[in-house]
């Protein structure tokens, strides 16, 4: 799929630095006006991908299209992109206003430059500090000036490279809302790079999870969260419990480590004996004190009530994190760690009973398994 006008397309992009392959055969299509986030652990290649789109790195192979035209061989200054860097990269020898105005000299906008600068300073709400030099600005102010500077020449595409990572948590949350709302107002195609999956989910129209120079999964935040395609995505995006097992019985159960079983969702068509990896979100598991729980016998006995019905397993609470609106409970289910999130009024403790709805168990793609063994996080 390519977007004929607007947007960014990346076709079979490979970027190599010496012996290191930073990106391998990456293809992406970002729609006009879309807020698209590249998320992944550090070193995964997401920044390289953004820099290649910006023209700051040259691809070893593949093409980059911006707004429908092949931009692969264009230098950065001709691509019509605005970039906000992680460290803001404000010119230290220019005032905030001069920084914002800098790009305008290279572009012919219908309105006068002064007017445009004022507009942008208004947009980021920083008219009051316009004549300060960067070292007199706070981190958040620098960030917004950098955003205003990138937007001033009316780029086709806005590229943000971890723009909030140096800021404190509450400022980060406020600014990401502001960035998102500015992006919506301007309806500008935006590529956002972050290592913070929560930020990615919160802000984006779509998300691409990047790992080891490849795209692991592309989808809406909800899609990626709810239906991770691979073990890596399952573990990287949000908290998750992932189990490896083998399909047993009539294809409706899996045996984990040969000592425990979990039900399989009804619609899977895996045959008996197949290896399978499943994930269960902590918030999809209920937890009850063993005493208050409906006694259903031994924790490891197989539930006989059939697919579709909730099952319970015995576990022991090890540690509890208080999250304000909930508890994250780290339990041990036999020898396996398992994490549960509960909004109960008091933290569970001791022996507990965990409840699963069978449709909370998500089957991950098998192709991922060889690379994902070892529990890389």
């Amino acid at each position: 799929m390519t977007s004929a006008d607007g947007g960014v397309d990346v076709d079979e992009l490979t970027v190599r630095f010496g012996d290191v392959e930073a990106l391998t055969d990456v293809s992406l299509s970002i729609d006009d006006g879309e807020f698209f986030t590249l998320v992944g652990p550090s070193g995964c290649g997401k920044t390289t991908l953004l820099r290649t789109v910006a023209g700051l790195e040259a691809p070893t192979a593949g093409r980059v299209r911006i707004d429908g035209r092949d931009a692969t061989d264009e230098p950065p200054e001709e691509r019509g992109v605005g970039v906000v860097f992680q460290n803001y990269a404000l010119f230290p020898h220019m005032t905030a206003r001069e920084n914002v105005a800098y790009g305008l000299q290279f572009h012919d906008l219908p309105e006068p430059d002064d007017q445009r600068v004022t507009e942008l300073l208004d947009l980021v709400d920083l008219t009051s500090v316009a004549d300060r030099e960067p070292d007199q600005l706070s981190g958040g102010q620098k960030q917004r000036i950098a955003l205003a500077r990138a937007l001033a020449p009316k780029p086709d595409v806005l590229l943000l490279d971890e723009p909030l990572s140096a800021l404190d948590a509450s400022l980060r949350k406020r600014l990401r809302v502001q960035i998102r709302s500015i992006q919506r107002d301007l309806d500008i195609t935006t590529v956002y790079v972050t290592h913070d999956q929560a930020e990615a989910l919160a802000i984006s129209d779509r998300v691409a999870v990047v790992r080891d120079g490849r795209i692991e999964q592309v989808g809406t935040p909800e899609g990626v969260y709810r239906e991770p395609a691979t073990r890596f995505v399952a573990e990287f995006v949000g908290d998750n419990n992932v189990f490896d097992g083998v399909v047993t019985g009539t294809g409706d159960r899996i045996s984990v480590d040969g000592t425990a079983t979990l039900p399989l969702p009804a619609e899977t068509d895996l045959s008996t004996g197949a290896s399978v990896t499943v994930s269960v979100r902590p918030e999809a598991i209920s937890v009850q004190d063993r005493d208050g729980a409906q006694a259903d016998g031994h924790g490891s006995t197989v539930d006989e009530r059939g697919p579709g019905a909730a099952v319970t397993r015995s576990a022991t609470v090890e540690t509890v994190e208080y999250l304000g609106d909930a508890y994250r409970v780290h339990c041990r289910w036999d020898d396996r760690p398992i994490t549960v999130k509960t909004d109960s009024a008091s933290p569970p403790e001791g022996a507990v009973s965990l409840g699963f709805a069978p449709d909370a168990i998500h089957v991950l793609s098998n192709g991922d398994r060889p690379a994902a063994t070892g529990g890389e996080r």
């Binding site: 700051l56 790195e57 230098p75 200054e77 860097f85 000299q105 990138a150 020449p153």
Partner: protein
Amino acid sequence: MGRRDGWALWVGVAATLATLVVVFYYPVGRVFADAVAVDGQLSLAPIRSVLGDPFYTGAAHTLVTDPAAVPSGVVEWLAAGAPAVEFGLFGFTAYQALLSTLVSVLVGLPGAYVLSRFEFPGRRFLRSVTILPFVLPSILVAVGFLAMFGRTGLFNDLLGAVGLGPVELTFTLEIVVLAHAFYNAPLVTRLVTAAWESVDADRVETARTLGASPVRAFRDVTLPQLLPALATAAVLTFVFTFMSFPIVLALGGLELATVEVWLFARVQSLDLTEAATLGAIETALSLGLLYVYLRYEARRTEPGGASRGLSRRPLVDGVRSLVDPLRLAVFAYGAVVLVLFAGPLVSLVVESVTTPAGQPTGDYYAFLLARQASTASGTVRPFPAVVNSLLFGAGTLLVAIPMGIVVAVVATRGGRGSRAAEALLTAPLAVSGIVLGLGMLQALVFGTTLFGQRLTVTGPVAIVAAHAVAAYPFVSRTVTPALRSVDDSLGEAARSLGADRATVLADVELPLVAPALVAGAAFAFAISVGEFDSTVLLSTGVDTATMPVALERYVGDRSLGPNLGPATAMGTVLLAVTTVSFVLIDRVGGRWE
């Protein structure tokens, strides 16, 4: 990096290379060809004959003449208790260069400390004129040093006044080393001051809050940030003093001869093969050192990003501050500077108004006026010489600064072989002036036959080009580390905003490295104003004479008797003109900082 550069940069690279090829690589290559060829055939014979001559290489000559005997020789030597070994002329030359480098650093480093960490009236002026010694012809330095440190010099008078001395310094290695420090300690001071002014205060303060004493914070945080500049200055000082020539024989005598003395003697007697061979070995050693250094520097310099400079404290802060040990040390250092730098310079000025018998006289300045009024052909007039020097200096700045910037930009791009390329581009520092002069004479003055035409390159344009080639390495050497420490993302931000590579350089990078650029410009100007050899070679008559040329003519002029009075008067004019120029360069450049 696959950054695409604007055409402007490539035009700059091409113009720089073209200039270098015409006035440097080709002429020098023509000379060096003699070192590796006999009768048109490639041969190692010339180099073997020099390296295998114990006079040149001392104990090391067996490495060439009888390599098989080296291990047993070393064993015998160890068995004999490892007595001192002589390494011939090359060994002594390296030894005196090492001593000179050490002393230059010892003298120059505190100067950088004072200039960058203290505030006092005249600080900027002092910083501007630090490199004044650079422009002085050696004959005048010899005059100043004899008047200051000679048997009957001012220094002994001062020592005598406090009941010390006298010290006999003339004709010793010590005075040669001091003269080398006079030339090169300012280089250390100037380069390190520029680096010190850009030390990030945050890091120093971090170290202090972690419990480091000021001394530890200096050692652990400041010093590592100064090291690249300090190492640059030390390497350059070593290379310069390794190739030192006139000052050695003018103050020390033939017993302290360096390789360059022999090189000059070979050129004089037209034994050009051995001259070329000596020059090639010198250059190989210097370039090797530069290359090793450049590799080290590239590894060391880390991007610093925008940083907050250290604040200066007042040198005098109430009466009590005068007895604080640190300030006492600074004042003691000031006394050393007065003796070592101001002493010879002031002595020189005093000589220009004193007869050999010690009587005050205005004759030497009257001589300058008479020369100015003269109509006799072949007379070098002082005022046109001043004007020529300034014009050539300005022309050199116009050519050397872009060249230096281009080379610095190429050097900071990185990539395979870029250190080797940078070393080659820095080669004008590593080639003996005598070799370059010989090459220019053969290739440019006598001309080169190209497409059946004999092309000669002389006159003012050639002089400016030659000065620029000698000067630009100072610009690139000061700018490269500074440029390397500019955060890449600043340039990338500018490019994404629509600026091409050249605009990024002009709008972002150069303003950020302005202090280094101004330091480089001052050096470049100093090199041009002080340059003598190629100016004389490429000049087409007395109309292109510069201040040093005038000075040299007045050295040989005995109309006021065989004394150097007229030369010292011209030298004083040279000092005055260059002082004003340096202050102007710093003021104009300072507006940009």
